[in-house]
């Protein structure tokens, strides 16, 4: 079909989203997209979810540190934020989600709010609560693998 004249086309907004999870999480774009649709539908219903029309355009996750660009209709940013905040876990992996900013183009969104990956994380052993445990360290954050699961710590805890 012939595409719409420019003034009738849908206007979009792009949310730059920071994703944090435990280092062993291995979900991908499709899993995150599914959880996001569920979150929007559970919070706003089918009608609201259709209005938000949230689509993940860029997705990158490695070693528990990730980012995504999420598209939504212009004017729906607050509700899109609420839906994103309600994504508590993806494929059983708990996730921390934060909207770093909103842009009118994908490019501006990536330039301003999606930070390029730095060096690979540092694998080490740390003395945590009277035991020697394996840990993954990155940017001053340390995720310690304890027998009961991962624990979040920082370099300050090992000084």
């Amino acid at each position: 079909m012939k595409h719409l004249p420019k003034h009738l086309r849908q206007r979009w907004r792009y949310l730059g989203v920071a994703i944090e999870t435990w280092p062993d999480a291995a979900f991908g774009r499709r899993d995150f997209q599914r959880e996001l649709w569920y979150a929007a539908q559970n919070l706003f219903g089918d009608a609201g979810s259709a209005d938000l029309d949230m689509t993940i355009l860029r997705f990158d996750l490695a070693d528990g540190d990730g980012a995504a660009v999420v598209r939504t209709r212009r004017g729906e940013e607050p509700r899109a934020r609420a839906a994103l905040a309600c994504v508590a876990a993806v494929d059983g992996d708990p996730v921390g989600i934060r909207v770093r900013g909103v842009s009118g183009t994908v490019r501006a969104c990536e330039e301003n709010y999606i930070h390029r990956r730095r060096e690979p994380p540092d694998q080490r052993h740390v003395a945590f609560e009277d035991a020697e445990e394996p840990a993954v360290a990155r940017d001053g954050k340390v995720d310690v693998r304890t027998p009961e699961g991962y624990s979040g710590a920082t370099t300050l805890d090992f000084q």
């Binding site: 309600c86 876990a89 934060r98 699961g149 979040g152 300050l156």
Partner: protein, 242 residues
Amino acid sequence: MTYEAVHARPDGDSTVARLALTASDYGFDGVVVRNHGDALADYDPEAVSETYDVDVVPAVEVRADDPSQASGYVGNHRPDTVVLAVHGGTVAMNRFAVEQAAVDVLAHPMRGDGDFNHVLAKEAAANGVRVEFSLRDVLDCTGGRRVRRLQSLRKLRELVDYYDVPYVVSADPASHLQLRAPRELVAVGEAIGFSGEQIETGLAEWGRIASRNRERLSDSFVEPGVRRVDERDPSATGDGHD
């Protein structure tokens, strides 16, 4: 000023430092470390606060089976704790918390078998006990359970509005992954019937409690409005004439 009230290790999955780092990154001005009384965290508030540029407020959430036990815990913790909350969620504990002026916050009164009514609302307003709106269940439950939690939040909100009860808002995170930034909490609040200002006021209220109680805990405090001033330090008198 926005504050978040968190549970750190061993009560949650993250250390105080990690929660402070994430909260600072998310734009909070402070974290209130409200571990339960039987799982207190071992940390240095000043060091964490200085490193991550975020206010760290030592707090306790008293958890007890019955009011008489809770009363003892409140007495034990009050003299050296900045913010004192009571773990609500049963009718007896909710009732106990709102009747004690020594309690700052009644945490999640609607959780479990807990309920709230006009009698408790009036009592909380009279004693200045803040009632907590906990967004935890909205953020990570689904289905029928979430519907019931939303219904009880609405009931609580209507009572708090009508009787002008002071309140706090929190996502009640037990790890840095459960933290959500203030703007996200405002957006969620608006989606479930709160106004944006209500959420912001509730997040800021933690900071107001902390600064009031820190003043009360300081050595110069005698009673509200009365402060001991060191005579050898002229700058402390502030009035300029002797």
